[in-house]
């Protein structure tokens, strides 16, 4: 029992409720949401420290022992992701101070951002499958409001599609939970895992597993990503950075959790399918990243490629590849947030989203240019930077598993990631200067400081990968060996 586990939910929730009452005073809203975010990072960091020193932490709501009550579980994976979420939340918040505009700030932007963080942290920490659904909905409903906030034509049009897809996948999620409850009669994930193991994952449970795979793939944009590029290009950069970094990754986390903890008995069916889907995601994402000359679209297809890549790490399902998937997931959340923030600054500086209309920004914005360059290298996975160790471990896991085609495909997609980002860099920063009004120094600094902070974290993660691996390998142990998780949740309840 550890009551601190509720803090990553409680802090943003209380902040959000408080912010609703402070609609009139924007400076006060900023201060309070900044304090809330800082407290959230501190709490998440402390939970990570506790998980590192004392092992998996659990919290039984109102003292009801599992499987009867709702359990919160922080294993190393959840604790890492909660910390990364808190960090991304605060950097996106700092970036939105200078970029989001007063009109949106007055219409509950900051409370919605905090509610989004509640849903994301809750999804990472919960140990109950229906509670996972509820946390998904908290996250999604905030994202509906954020995607349409401002009400421009493109936002209205794209949010209609985004909401429809998510209502559909939520309905499927509830249907899958209903079937699962009908077959095994429990909702607690650890207990589910035991009962599925006892029943043997036969015909019905395989169907349910595939249903969960479809649901989470829709949320994560794994193969079923047709809704993603359009929806994510509608809202402003600060919001897209949150979406690209957090929302799809929650779907990936749910895939990782269900297919390592609950449905891991028939990899020849489930994991094989997911391998095909991961390969198709990487290939189609690469086509998209090559095809467009529009910064938001290129960045969105880069999100798709990385989802396919992490799912590949899950399908190989050995220690190396799962370690690599966790490491790459942590890197990718931070790096994608950074990339979207930098992309937003580039668009603000060039006053257009089209690559054809920009050029020569390196003379007026040298820092922005080189930051974008380093970020692109980090995402492609150039050795000293943070994308490399995760990528290498996933590929090593894939080779051990003899999935040569997928390894080749992911190497090829890395080249395309590098090419597509370098194309943005070269056409935006090099070449002939265009006549556009230059941002004032103060405005530039206020936008670049949060990006610089994230960049420092990303570079440090690459340089200190050895140190980070100490954490990641613990997360990989729990994924490869579900009994560690089950014992931590159920054994402590017996006492």
């Amino acid at each position: 029992m550890n009551n601190l586990l509720i803090l990553p939910l409680l802090i943003p929730l209380c902040t959000a409720v408080l912010l609703i009452f402070l609609k009139r005073s924007i400076p006060l809203q900023r201060w309070i949401s900044a304090i809330g975010s800082a407290a959230n990072v501190a709490a998440a960091g402390y939970i990570l420290y506790q998980v590192k020193t004392d092992g998996i932490q659990t919290l039984y709501m109102s003292g009801w022992v599992p499987p009867y009550g709702i359990t919160f579980v922080a294993d190393m994976l959840a604790a890492l992701l909660v910390l990364v979420t808190a960090i991304i939340g605060s950097f996106c918040l700092f970036y939105s101070f200078s970029s989001i505009g007063e009109e949106r700030e007055r219409h509950y932007f900051y409370p919605l951002l905090q509610f989004l963080l509640v849903g994301v942290s809750g999804s990472f920490l919960t140990g109950d499958i229906f509670n996972l659904f509820v946390c998904f909905e908290v996250m999604l409903i905030s994202s509906y409001a954020l995607i349409v906030l401002g009400g421009t034509k493109i936002q209205l049009r794209e949010s209609l599609k985004y909401i429809l897809i998510n209502i559909l996948s939520s309905a499927l999620f509830v249907a899958a939970i209903a079937y699962l409850y009908g077959v095994v009669g429990t909702l607690n994930m650890a207990d589910l895992s035991q009962r599925v193991a006892e029943a043997g994952q036969d015909g019905v449970l395989n169907v349910i597993a595939i249903m969960f795979m479809i649901v989470f793939s829709l949320k994560a944009g794994l193969f079923l990503f047709f809704w993603l590029p359009g929806s994510y290009s509608a809202p402003p950069a600060a919001i897209t950075a949150l979406f690209g970094a957090l929302l799809t990754k929650v779907g990936l986390y749910a895939l990782l959790r269900t297919f390592t903890l609950i449905f891991y008995h028939e990899p020849s069916i489930t994991h094989e399918w997911m391998g095909w889907m991961a390969g198709a995601t990487m290939a189609l994402g690469a086509f998209g990243a090559l095809a467009y000359k529009d910064i938001p679209r290129i960045l969105n297809y880069n999100v798709v490629i990385s989802i396919g890549f992490i799912a590949f790490g899950l399908t190989a399902a050995n220690k190396d590849s799962l370690d690599g998937a966790v490491l790459y997931l942590v890197h990718d959340m931070l790096a994608k947030a950074l990339l979207f923030i930098l992309g937003g600054i580039v668009i603000a500086a060039a006053r257009t989203t089209k690559l054809n209309g920009m050029g020569g920004l390196i003379r007026t914005y040298p820092y922005l240019g080189w930051m974008f360059f380093v970020t692109a290298l980090a995402i492609a996975g150039i050795p000293p930077l943070s994308g490399f160790p995760g990528k290498m471990m996933i590929l090593r896991g894939g080779l051990q598993n003899e999935q040569f085609w997928l390894v080749a495909l992911s190497l090829a997609s890395s080249f395309i990631v590098l090419y597509s980002l370098m194309r943005i860099f070269m056409s935006a920063f090099w070449g002939e200067e265009r006549q556009v009004p230059v941002m004032s120094g103060k405005q530039q600094r206020s936008m670049l400081i949060p990006a610089a902070g994230l960049l420092v974290i990303v570079v440090t993660m690459g340089l200190c990968a050895e140190w980070l691996y100490d954490f990641v390998s613990v997360a990989g142990d729990t994924l490869i060996n579900p009994s560690l998780y089950i014992d931590a949740v159920l054994k402590e309840g017996m006492r």
Binding site: F130, Y144, L156, L160, I167, S170, V174, I177, G230
Partner: protein, 112 residues
Amino acid sequence: MELYMSLAIGVLFTVGVYLILSKSILRIILGTSFLTHGVHLLLLTMSRLKTGSAPLLGEKAESYVDPLPQALILTSIVISFGVTSFFFVLAYKAYQKLGTDDMEQLRGKDDE
């Protein structure tokens, strides 16, 4: 009994999917409501429709029906209620601003 319920749920799903694939936005929203109705009935059905008393301890009955799915459905109903009302307002706003309720005309990548 479960068989009839399954058939009814199947019909609800079919109608829902058919409506979601249509052009008009109002028909799509109706379709999502049919779908969520089907899902809620499915939750109820999957806990076996044994006869038993309502889950109130004051009833002092021999056996009670499973209380858990009822709690799940109640949660899911209010969530889908909130989402549907948001969807309706969004459709209204989109109709005002875009001047159409035809999904065919809401295509395209142009940013206006």
